[in-house]
Amino acid sequence: MSLRVFVCEACGRAVFPRRLLCPDCGGTEWRREPVDGGVLEAGTERDGVRVGAVRTPLGPLVITRIESESRPGTDVPLGEDGDVPVSRAT
C-alpha cells in the first residue's frame, strides 16, 4: 500500500494535501500518483504516537504517523489509512 499524492494533470506539479488550483499553472484536474516512501526529515512523539515529516520523491513533505523506530535522515515507507498518511513498520 502506498500513499497517493496529487499530481496536476496539466503541468505535473505534485502536492499534498490537494489544493483547489495548481499553485504553478492554475490547473484544476488532479491524478493520484503512488509513492512508496520517502526520507524522514523530522520526527517527534506525543502521548505515545510518533509523528514525522517525510519528504516524498515527487516533492511534497507529508505529515504522517510513524509506526517504526526510524530516525530522521533515514528512508521510511508511506501508506494510507483512509485519507491519513501512515508509515508502517517494515
Partner: protein, 379 residues
C-alpha cells in the same frame, strides 16, 4: 510605499484572562466585558461607537451583528475576522482604512474566546478541513507536534539548546510578574523551565501556551488629541504555500517595506510584541523583523533578551498570560498600546514612544500561514 493612515488607537483593554473561569462565563460575556472596559478606559460613550469588528473561534453561530445587537450599538461598519493569530492586526488594517474613508468614526475591535476542554479538543481537530481530513486521524492532537518538529529544525540550523529558548520564556515570565492580569506570574528560573514535563520533544510544558478564557479590545478613531498612531502596517499571507521550512514567516518578506513606511528600524523601537505561540516562532518573527541582523539567534537570546532585557512581550505574552483563542491575535496590540499610552502600570517601559507588533498563525497544514506587522507610535 503604502499610504499612511490618519486613524489613531485611543484605548486598549482586556477582560481578565482566566484558566478556569467561573460558571456562567461565555464568549459573549467576555467580549461584552472587554467592550465595557475599553469604552471606560478611553472615555468614549457607547452611543459614539459606529463600527464593530470581532475575532473569535467560539462566538459561532453568532457573528459581529449578533454582538452589536446585544451590546446595543448601531454600527455603520461591521466585520468578522477568523484569522486567529493575525486577526488583531487584520482588523486594525481594515478599521484604519474605514476611518480614513469616513465609513465610520469610532470603531471598537474585540477578540476573545471561552473554551472548556471539550470545545478546545474540537477546535484543534477541526481547525480547518485539511486538519480534520489529514492530521486529526494521525492523531496529531493539535499543533504541538508540528511546532516540535519546527523547533528541532531551528535548533539544528542555529545551534540552539533548550536553555536558549528558556531565556525568552524566563524573560517573559519576569514581565508577567509585573502584570496583575497574567495567569502565570510566579518567578521562573531557567532550571524550572528545563525541568518542565515533556509535551513532544523538544517542546516541554513551558514552551506551550496555556489555554485560557479572556478577551481584548481596542478603540480606533479619527485623529484628534493624542492616542497611538499607526505608522506602518503590512500583511502577507500564504507567502510560501506551506512549502518552505516554516521558520521564515511572511514577516521576513514584508519587513523591509514595513520599516521603510515607518521611517524607522528595529533599533528605534522601545516595545516589541511578537506572536508567541511557541518560543521558536517568537524567535523566528524577531529574526524576520531584523532583530538579529547577524543571524546569530543564540547570541541574540543571550545578549539582547537575557542581559539587555529588550522589552519583548512586556505583558508576559501568551506564554505567561495565556492564549485566549483569537485574543492571542490582539494581546500584543493591547499591550503595546497600553505601553505607548503610559498605562502599563508597574511594567511601564519609560518613555515608550515606538512599538512594533506582529501577528502570525493559522496553521494550514505544517505551520502558520498568516503574517502581519504594525509599527505604532505615541502621538
Amino acid at each position: 510605499m503604502v499610504e499612511p493612515s490618519d486613524a489613531v488607537i485611543v484605548g486598549a483593554a482586556e477582560s481578565p484572562y482566566s484558566r478556569h473561569p467561573p460558571e456562567g462565563v461565555t464568549t459573549e460575556s467576555l467580549l461584552a466585558d472587554a467592550f465595557v472596559r475599553v469604552l471606560a478606559s478611553s472615555g468614549i460613550s457607547r452611543e459614539e461607537v459606529d463600527g464593530l469588528g470581532v475575532a473569535s473561534f467560539t462566538l459561532a453561530p453568532d457573528r459581529a451583528i449578533d454582538l452589536a445587537w446585544k451590546l446595543g450599538i448601531r454600527p455603520r461598519w461591521l466585520m468578522d475576522d477568523g484569522n486567529g493569530g493575525a486577526s488583531g492586526i487584520q482588523l486594525l488594517q481594515h478599521a484604519m482604512r474605514a476611518i480614513d474613508a469616513g465609513d465610520a468614526t469610532t470603531i471598537v475591535l474585540l477578540s476573545g474566546d471561552h473554551f472548556d476542554s471539550a470545545a478546545f479538543r474540537v477546535l484543534v481537530d477541526t481547525y480547518n478541513r485539511t486538519t480534520a481530513q489529514y492530521l486529526a486521524g494521525i492523531p496529531t492532537g493539535g499543533p504541538n507536534v508540528l511546532f516540535a518538529m519546527l523547533t528541532r529544525q531551528q535548533m539544528d540550523t542555529h545551534g540552539l539548546e533548550r536553555e536558549d529558548y528558556g531565556r525568552l520564556v524566563v524573560a517573559q515570565r519576569r514581565w508577567a510578574g509585573l502584570n496583575p492580569g497574567a495567569v502565570y506570574r510566579a518567578p521562573l528560573t531557567l532550571e524550572e523551565y528545563l525541568a518542565a514535563p515533556v509535551v513532544a520533544e523538544p517542546l516541554h510544558r513551558l514552551d506551550c501556551v496555556p489555554v485560557v478564557s479572556g478577551a481584548d479590545a481596542l478603540v480606533v478613531t479619527a485623529a484628534g488629541q493624542g492616542g497611538v498612531g499607526i505608522r506602518a502596517l503590512r500583511g502577507l499571507h500564504n507567502h510560501d504555500g506551506q512549502e518552505g521550512d516554516g521558520l521564515r514567516t511572511g514577516i521576513a518578506e514584508l519587513a523591509r517595506g514595513l520599516w521603510e513606511d515607518a521611517g524607522a528600524g528595529p533599533e528605534d523601537v522601545d516595545i516589541v510584541s511578537v506572536y508567541d505561540d511557541y518560543p521558536a516562532m517568537a524567535l523566528a518573527q524577531l529574526a524576520d523583523l531584523g532583530f538579529a541582523s547577524d543571524g546569530d539567534l543564540r547570541a541574540f537570546l543571550r545578549r539582547r533578551i537575557e542581559e539587555e532585557r529588550l522589552p519583548v512581550n512586556t505583558s508576559g505574552g501568551q506564554l505567561s498570560v495565556g492564549q485566549a483563542g483569537a485574543a492571542g491575535g490582539m494581546i500584543g496590540l493591547v499591550e503595546s498600546v497600553a505601553q505607548l499610552l503610559g498605562q502599563a502600570g508597574e511594567r511601564q517601559v519609560e518613555d515608550a514612544r515606538l512599538a512594533v507588533v506582529t501577528g502570525y498563525g493559522m496553521v494550514l497544514y505544517r505551520y502558520g500561514a498568516c503574517a502581519n506587522a504594525v509599527v505604532l507610535e505615541r502621538r
